[in-house]
């Protein structure tokens, strides 16, 4: 079991590094898919079955495929991203590393936490989560549908082509006015 954890952890960390380091956006998305699948494996190890399934469906199935669609739509694979200046890159990596250090130092007492004696291992099962979700968190759950509706409307409004005024004109007929 511990070996499985180390394997999954190595896969997620390496895939996350590939996400940051890859030159092509498609490689980044594929690496992020691998990383999220390994995180779903961690959820299975923790016996959070409901979240593991939702994670695979929502992230791998919806969000990352949406990102792949956007890359395909925008034809982004060919363009080479310019690098930031060396100082900015060094400071970015240093910021991430220092944040890691600070977080580890802040929670160093949590690193050897002892779990309570009474222990319910079936907490992540669908039945349990459903009970808690629809009893204690019913109102936030219903409100999230409003969030989704507004996100959907907002995305459609944002992504709509506003080409009504020059839809029939060739692009060169409009003079550049800045």
């Amino acid at each position: 079991m511990l070996v499985l954890f180390y394997l999954l952890a190595a896969v997620s960390v390496i895939a996350a590094l590939v996400v940051v380091a890859a030159r092509s956006p498609v490689t980044s998305v594929i690496a992020l898919i691998v990383c999220f699948l390994s995180i779903a494996g961690h959820y299975v190890l923790l016996n959070a079955q409901f979240l593991a399934m939702v994670h695979v469906i929502v992230y791998t199935g919806a969000i990352l495929i949406l990102m792949l669609f956007v890359i395909m739509l925008l034809n982004m694979n060919e363009e080479v991203e310019k690098r930031k200046p060396l100082l900015a890159r060094i400071s970015a990596v240093a910021t991430g590393g220092l944040l890691l250090l600070v977080l580890l130092a802040a929670t160093r007492q949590g690193l050897d936490l002892q779990a309570p004696a009474s222990f319910n291992a079936g907490v992540g099962l669908v039945k349990n989560i459903g009970n808690v979700l629809f009893r204690d968190y019913l109102l936030p759950f219903e409100l999230s549908s409003v969030l989704f509706l507004s996100a959907m409307a907002g995305a459609m409004m944002l992504a709509k082509k506003d080409g009504t005024e020059h839809i029939n004109l060739p692009p060169s007929s409009e003079p550049e006015e800045a």
Binding site: S12, V19, L46, A88, L158
Partner: protein, 109 residues
């Protein structure tokens, strides 16, 4: 069920702390390092997921289902956020001729 209990507790909780902080640090470094807006959105997702992982680990260890419901809500919010972010990205590509974050310098003033 005893097998599951022992299986969960084989991995020390500190390991999950370290792993999730590693992922979070990589996400922060990537968001600062890259100039492609899509990669920055992906790094944001990575950070959200590292937090989710820590919440699930703590929830499994302490037997509290509330944290897992919170992870569920974080996933919902992330999905909504990505939808709107990608719509903005498409508009940027269409109107500003690129997805480079440096082209949005004028938003600073």
């Amino acid at each position: 069920m005893e097998d599951v209990v022992t299986a969960i507790r084989v991995v020390p909780l500190g390991h999950y702390f370290v792993l999730s902080f590693l992922l979070f640090g990589i996400g922060v470094a990537g968001a600062l390092l890259r100039r492609n807006i899509l990669i920055i959105i992906m790094c944001l997702e990575l950070m959200l997921n590292s937090v989710n992982l820590l919440l699930v680990a703590l929830s499994a260890w302490y037997g509290d289902a509330g944290a897992q419901v919170m992870v569920f809500f974080i996933m919902l919010v992330a999905a909504a956020e990505v939808t709107v972010g990608l719509a903005i990205l498409v508009q940027l590509k269409r109107n500003a001729e690129g997805v480079d974050i440096n082209q949005l310098n004028r938003l600073k003033w």
